[in-house]
């Protein structure tokens, strides 16, 4: 088994660069060599037919920023040579979801309508990661405008493959992020989580993803999907690396009025303090699923996939042995309403955010001589948007239009309050359950095959069933690898905690990592990397 510089953790890469043991340039070259080995052809707007070889590769990067990355790496190595500290992420290869503006790079949102948009500034969390020494290797694929859970709705095709089995989806919408990190093409990635878009792909790809508390990380420079739910969110291969990233990107920002001034703790300080005395809840409402039958549309109640439930229960036992107290039977009765409410709230907000793309000021404009302005709008938006943005615009307009409105939107906002209240009661220090965190599965299934669900927008949305409640409530959620299923695909387990409890969730995730270090499933390795080993 070959381990390259690009396979090291971010903490170890930065330690070596800061100490002069390794150069940022050599870590970057290692990542570029890995990209060369596993990436395959780049996803393009006119990507053409998927050929069999595509299903053996990753296709994560919409654009690679190699010259820019080499300059960054060189600047870091020069800083080290001068005796300066280049920061806690010095020389760490970073992939950025192509939903974030990065100055002087194409920033496409995975959409034809922004395919030629060159960002004139950098998003705050991106600027902070780069200031901490991270080296941006490129912009990675996503569902168009983050609308999806499989990455298949991108205008840039072929879509990314899951490194554990490239015939399967990496999840979405931050699919390129999770796939790139799992395959060692980048050590860390900045994604976004609106309904689970970081936790679900992290679970599918066997990496760690954290959705911070809403307002923990600035949204400035993030192309908006649903502004009351969107959270910039870190992805890495270890909990410790996610902790470092979160410390770097968190905090107030004069450019985002929702970025909270709540103090940012040192997320590394208590990381190894263990879980003794922590109260961790299990809820039956996260082991039982209600979703529509793909044929009849009837709502069905089903137990969760047994291997996933088993992984969560095993994790609870592991944490109990480490000194945590497990609290069974915590009611989270409104969990099942998360998706129906999300169908309304996210669509209203998305429709509002998508009206700015009109072919006038930037982005795609329909070619040819057009008679009048409205024709320019209609043609540019008709050609420029894919199916998913169109669905969101139309649904958002329908459920918020006065003449059709049937109380959907105010009802959804009240359901949102009730979902929040479930969490408030579970975490209330004076309440019946007094939980430090809730332990749940991250996803109802492991990674599904490309093409298996895409096209059915209802069933696809239910991939977020267990992650979306945290977005409604605003609370943080951490997904960590928790095992492998029978075919060897990663299972994610999720820790949910009260507002601004990221330090506690990271401590839990870290303890689980340490306690399962010798577990047999930890020996699993993504298939694309097995090919690298044998190549």
């Amino acid at each position: 088994m070959t381990r390259s510089l690009c396979d090291l953790s971010a903490v170890e890469q930065a330690r070596r660069v800061r100490s002069g043991e390794t150069s940022a340039a050599s870590i970057l070259e290692s990542a570029l060599t890995r990209i060369e080995a596993v990436e395959g052809r780049p996803p393009l707007i006119e990507g053409g037919e998927v050929v069999p070889d595509d299903r053996t590769k990753i296709h994560a990067f919409i654009s690679q920023t190699i010259d820019r990355a080499r300059k960054q790496a060189q600047a870091i190595d020069e800083a080290v040579a001068r005796g300066e500290d280049p920061g806690p992420l010095a020389g760490v290869p970073l992939a950025i979801k192509d939903l974030f503006c990065v100055r002087d790079t194409l920033t496409t949102a995975g959409s034809r309508i922004l395919a030629n948009f060159r960002a004139p500034y950098s998003a705050t969390p991106v600027a902070r990661l780069e200031a901490a020494g991270a080296v941006t290797v490129g912009k990675v694929n996503l569902d168009e405008f983050a609308f999806g859970s499989s990455n298949e709705s991108s205008a840039f095709l072929p879509p990314p493959g899951n490194p554990w089995d490239p015939a399967r989806v990496p999840g979405g919408s931050s699919g390129g992020s999770a796939a790139a990190v799992a395959a060692g093409e980048a050590t860390i990635s900045l994604g976004t989580d609106t309904a689970g878009s970081v936790r679900q792909p992290a679970a599918f790809c066997g990496v760690v993803g954290l959705k911070p508390t809403y307002g923990r990380v600035s949204r400035f420079g993030l192309i908006a999907f649903a502004s009351s739910l969107d959270c910039p969110a870190p992805i890495a291969r270890t909990v410790e690396d996610v902790a470092v990233m979160l410390g770097v990107i968190s905090g107030p920002d004069e450019h985002d009025a929702t970025a909270a001034a709540t103090p940012v703790p040192d997320y590394l300080a208590g990381l190894d303090d263990g879980v003794r005395g922590m109260r961790i809840g299990l809820s039956p409402d996260y082991f039982r699923l209600r979703y529509p039958d793909p044929v009849s549309g009837e709502l069905n109640d089903q137990p969760i996939v047994p291997a996933i439930e088993a992984a969560v229960r095993d994790a609870a036992e592991v944490l109990a042995r480490a000194g945590a107290e497990i609290v069974e039977g915590v009611p989270m009765a409104n969990t099942r309403f998360g998706i129906p409410a999300y169908f309304v709230i996210s669509r209203v907000e998305a429709a509002s955010n998508l009206h700015r793309y009109d072919g006038v000021k930037y982005g795609y404009r329909a070619p040819g001589k057009l008679q009048e302005l409205a024709e320019l709008y209609r043609r540019s938006r008709g050609d420029g948007f894919g199916v998913q943005p169109k669905l969101r615009i139309l649904m958002g307009m329908y459920v918020s239009a006065a003449q059709y409105e049937k109380g959907y939107y105010p009802r959804a906002l009240r359901v949102r309050s009730m979902i929040r209240r479930d969490f408030d009661q579970a975490f209330d220090p004076q309440g019946r359950y007094r939980l430090d965190a809730l332990l749940t599965p991250t996803t109802p299934t492991t990674a599904f095959e490309l093409g298996a669900i895409y096209g059915d927008s209802v069933l696809m949305q239910y991939a977020d069933l267990l992650t979306v409640p945290a977005n409604h409530a605003g609370i943080p959620g951490l997904s960590v690898p928790g095992g492998l299923d029978e075919p060897g695909l990663p299972i994610g387990i999720q820790f949910l905690g009260p507002d601004f409890s990221e330090d506690r969730l990271l401590r839990l995730g870290r303890a689980f990592e340490v306690e399962t270090r010798e577990a047999a499933w930890r020996g699993g390795r993504p298939r694309v990397l097995q090919a690298v080993d044998h190549g």
Partner: protein, 111 residues
């Protein structure tokens, strides 16, 4: 489709109106697919009708409370010049002497 599935909430007429409002030009086959998907989504949305909502349940516009002490200070109400206007104008599909060019905006009377 289950026998008791309610009729489509978004009819072809409503759909056509939404498409006009949304300023979208659609292929006929695309329109048919989108309308079917929207009606499928609304069937899922109607699950919310099962929930008993107490009349006093508040409307939540986002989950996390924002007490004044964690809100950033409002910035000064002052004009700040854009640092790179040329770069931003260069994104426009068609410009002329610092103006963005668009097709005719025909005169219409208010309905």
């Amino acid at each position: 489709m289950a026998p008791d599935t309610p009729p489509d909430e978004i009819t072809p007429d409503i759909f056509a109106h939404l498409v006009r409002l949304a300023e979208l030009e659609l292929e006929p086959s695309e329109a048919e697919y989108l309308r079917a998907q929207l009606n499928g989504q609304l069937r899922a949305v109607r699950e919310m009708a099962d929930i008993e909502i107490e009349p006093e349940a508040p409307i939540t516009s986002h989950g996390v409370p924002y007490p004044p002490e964690v809100r950033p200070r409002l910035r000064d109400d002052a004009i700040v010049a854009c640092e790179n206007p040329d770069e931003i104008m260069a994104q426009a599909p068609e410009t002329d002497s610092g103006y963005i060019v668009v097709p005719e905006i025909p005169h219409t009377d208010l309905e």
